[in-house]
C-alpha cells in the first residue's frame, strides 16, 4: 500500500522545550494510525508540522510525497483537520460555516451547495442547517466540525482529540462516524488522542508518545508481543487432568511453565503456534477442555506499561 505520511527524525522545539523529539513513523493509505500520549506529548504539534502551519526544527516529513515546509498549501488541499476545539464560527449557521470552508478548500461554486447539503445530511444535521452554531449542543458542534474537515473530501484526515469534552453518547456517535469513514470509504486517518479505548477501537496501528518521543509503535498485537514476548493461556476443563498429564505437558516444545488452580490451568507458551499443540496434547491424554483463552492485553495495559517504563 502507498505510503501517505512519512516522518523521519522530526523535531520541533519551542525555546528549550522539545515538543517533538526525533519522531519516525509512516502512515499507509487506508490506514487509521493513532498518536497516543498524555497532554503535552507533542501530538497536536505533529499535526501542525505535517500540515505545514509550523516549520520543523529538524528532521524530515513528507505528506503525499510533499514537504510540508515548502508545499504546505498543496498538502492542506488534500487534508482535513478536526481541531481539538471545534473552531466553528458560532455566529454563523452550519451551512455558512461549511460553505466558507468549502470555498477556501476550492470546491467549485456550482457544486458547493449540493456538497454541503449532502455532508450535513450524512452527519445528521440536515434539520438545523440554517441555525446559528451557537445554538448547537457540543456533540452537534463536533459532528459539524468533522463535516467541515471532510467537506472537500480529503484523502487524508487528521483528528485531534475528536471526542474531547463530549458526553459518552456524543462521543460514541462521533466514534461511529469515524469508524464508518474508515470501513466504508477506506479513509486514511491520523488520530491524535489520549483516549485509549477510542484508539483501540479505531486504530490499525498506534504510536505511543511521551514528551515528544515515540516510545513504541505497531498494531495492538505487535505491541503486545514486544512488551510481553510470551503468551499466557487460560485452559478451563470439565475436570482438572491428573498431575502426570500436566507434567508431560511441560516437556512439549514451546511450553515455558504450567500452573493451575481449581478447574483452570495457566500455560505460559512462547508463541501462538504452540497453543494448538497444547490442546492436542491434552485431548490426546483424555482431558475434557471446556475453554481455551489466550490472555488479551488491552491498549491500556500497553500504554501504562510504556509510560511507567518512561518514568
Amino acid at each position: 500500500m502507498e505510503i501517505i505520511v512519512e516522518v523521519n527524525g522530526l523535531e520541533r522545539t519551542f525555546g528549550r522545550n522539545r515538543a517533538v523529539d526525533g519522531m519516525t513513523f509512516h502512515v499507509k493509505q487506508g490506514e487509521v494510525f493513532g498518536l497516543l500520549g498524555p497532554n503535552g506529548a507533542g501530538k497536536t504539534t505533529t499535526v501542525r508540522l505535517l500540515n505545514g502551519i509550523l516549520p520543523p526544527s529538524g528532521g524530515m516529513a513528507r505528506v503525499f510525497g510533499l514537504d510540508p515546509l515548502m508545499d504546505g498549501q498543496r498538502i492542506r488541499e488534500q487534508t482535513g483537520v478536526l481541531t481539538e476545539s471545534p473552531s466553528l464560527y458560532e455566529r454563523l449557521s452550519a451551512r455558512e460555516n461549511l460553505e466558507f470552508f468549502g470555498t477556501l478548500a476550492g470546491i467549485p461554486a456550482e457544486k458547493l451547495t449540493q456538497r454541503v447539503q449532502d455532508i450535513l445530511k450524512f452527519f445528521g444535521l440536515q434539520d438545523r442547517v440554517n441555525d446559528k452554531v451557537e445554538t448547537y449542543s457540543k456533540g452537534m458542534k463536533q459532528r459539524l466540525a468533522l463535516a467541515r474537515a471532510l467537506v472537500h473530501e480529503p484523502p487524508l484526515l487528521f483528528l485531534d482529540e475528536p471526542t474531547s469534552g463530549l458526553d459518552p453518547e456524543a462521543a460514541q456517535q462521533v466514534n461511529e462516524l469515524i469508524a464508518s469513514l474508515s470501513q466504508r470509504s477506506g479513509q486514511t486517518i491520523l488520530l491524535a488522542t489520549h483516549n485509549l479505548l477510542e484508539a483501540q477501537r479505531l486504530c490499525d496501528r498506534v504510536a505511543v508518545m511521551n514528551k515528544g518521543r515515540i516510545l513504541a509503535m505497531g498494531s495492538l498485537k505487535e505491541l503486545t508481543r514486544k512488551l510481553w514476548p510470551v503468551i499466557w493461556v487460560d485452559i478451563t476443563f470439565w475436570e482438572m487432568p491428573a498431575e502426570t498429564v500436566r507434567e508431560t505437558l511441560k516437556t512439549l516444545r514451546g511450553v515455558i511453565q504450567i500452573t493451575g488452580q481449581g478447574e483452570t490451568m495457566q500455560a505460559q507458551v512462547e508463541n501462538e503456534d504452540v497453543i494448538p499443540q497444547v490442546v492436542r496434547h491434552l485431548t490426546g491424554q483424555g482431558a475434557s477442555i471446556l475453554r481455551v483463552n489466550p490472555r488479551d492485553y488491552t491498549l491500556e495495559d500497553i500504554y501504562f506499561s510504556l509510560q511507567a517504563g518512561e518514568k
Binding site: 519551542f14 501542525r48 500540515n51 505545514g52 502551519i53 509550523l54 516549520p55 504546505g72 498549501q73 498543496r74 492542506r76 488541499e77 487534508t79 483537520v81 481541531t83 476545539s85 473552531s87 466553528l88 464560527y89 458560532e90 455566529r91 454563523l92 455558512e96 466558507f100 470552508f101 470555498t103 477556501l104 478548500a105 476550492g106 466540525a145 467541515r148
Partner: protein, 274 residues
C-alpha cells in the same frame, strides 16, 4: 493569488462583525452624531438665536478667519453673519473630526477580525485551510478597509445632504462640499482607514483580546485630535494643499506598516499564539 478565497474571507469577517454589537455599535452612533446631530445643531442654532449672539461668536471667529489662508478667506467675503458662522462651523471646524471615522471603523473591524478570531478559538481551523498567508492577510485587511471607507463615504454623503438641506433657507443654494473636502474624502480618508488596519495587525500580535486590540488601536485617534486642535487654534488649516501633503505622509506610513505587517503575518507566528 486566489481572489475567490480572499473575498470569501472578507465576506465571512464582515458577516461576523455585523453580528458583534460591540463592533458595529460605534459604526451607527458616530456617523449619526457627526453627519446629522452636529451639523443640525450648528446650522439651525444661528437661524433661531438672536443676531447679537452670533455677532459675539463672530468676534471670536474673526481672529480665526484672519489666520486662514487668503484663498479660504475669499469664501467668507460678502456673507452675512449667520452664513459665516454656518460656513465656518460646517465647512471647516467639523472637517477634521470626520477623519476619526475611517480610523475608528477599520480598527474596530480589524480588531474583531484579527484578534477576535483568535479569542473565539476559530483561528486554528482557518490556518488549516489551503490558503496562503498573503490571501489570509488580504482577506482580513479588505474586510476592515472596505467597510471603513464605505461607511465614511456614506457618512459624508449624509452630511452633505444634511448641511445643504438645513442651510438652504440661509444660503438659498447648494454650497457644500467645499473644494477643501474633496482631498479629505478621497485621499486622506482611505489613507487613515489603511493606517488603522495596518496598526491593528501589528498590535494584534501583542494582545490577547478584542478589547485590548481595540483600545490600543483607537489611541491613533490622538493623531486626528491633533488636526482638530490645529484647525480650532488656527495653527493648521486643512486646505487642499495641506490635506494632500498630510494624506501623502499617511500613505507613506501605511506602506511601511503594511510591509512590516505582511512580514509578520505568518501562520507559524499565528499558531504559536493559539
Amino acid at each position: 493569488m486566489n481572489w475567490r478565497s480572499i473575498w470569501t474571507i472578507a465576506k465571512k469577517d464582515l458577516k461576523e462583525v455585523s453580528q458583534n454589537k460591540m463592533a458595529w455599535g460605534p459604526g451607527i452612533v458616530v456617523p449619526l452624531v457627526f453627519a446629522v446631530f452636529m451639523p443640525l445643531m450648528f446650522i439651525i442654532l444661528p437661524q433661531v438665536i438672536p443676531v447679537e449672539d452670533v455677532q459675539r461668536e463672530l468676534g471670536d471667529l474673526d481672529g480665526m478667519l484672519r489666520a486662514m489662508p487668503p484663498a479660504l478667506q475669499v469664501l467668507f467675503e460678502g456673507k452675512s453673519l449667520e452664513q459665516m458662522f454656518v460656513l465656518y462651523m460646517a465647512g471647516f471646524m467639523l472637517a477634521p473630526l470626520f477623519l476619526v471615522m475611517p480610523l475608528m471603523f477599520s480598527t474596530v473591524i480589524g480588531s474583531d477580525s484579527f484578534v477576535g478570531e483568535r479569542e473565539r478559538k476559530t483561528m486554528e481551523a482557518l490556518l488549516y485551510t489551503p490558503t496562503s498567508d498573503m490571501e489570509l492577510f488580504l482577506g482580513k485587511v479588505l474586510a476592515a478597509v472596505i467597510p471603513a471607507i464605505g461607511l465614511s463615504w456614506i457618512t459624508y454623503v449624509v452630511y452633505i445632504i444634511v448641511v445643504n438641506v438645513a442651510s438652504y433657507p440661509l444660503f438659498g443654494s447648494i454650497w457644500f462640499p467645499l473644494p477643501t473636502w474633496w482631498p479629505l474624502m478621497l485621499w486622506m480618508t482611505p489613507a487613515l482607514a489603511v493606517l488603522g488596519i495596518s496598526a491593528t495587525v501589528l498590535i494584534s500580535s501583542r494582545v490577547r483580546t478584542f478589547m485590548e486590540a481595540y483600545q490600543m488601536s483607537a489611541s491613533l485617534v490622538v493623531l486626528v485630535l491633533g488636526l482638530v486642535a490645529g484647525q480650532v487654534s488656527g495653527v493648521l488649516f486643512l486646505g487642499i494643499g495641506t490635506t494632500l501633503i498630510i494624506g501623502t505622509i499617511i500613505w507613506l506610513v501605511d506602506a511601511a506598516l503594511i510591509y512590516v505587517s505582511v512580514k509578520k503575518f505568518k501562520r507559524s507566528a499565528l499558531v504559536a499564539k493559539l
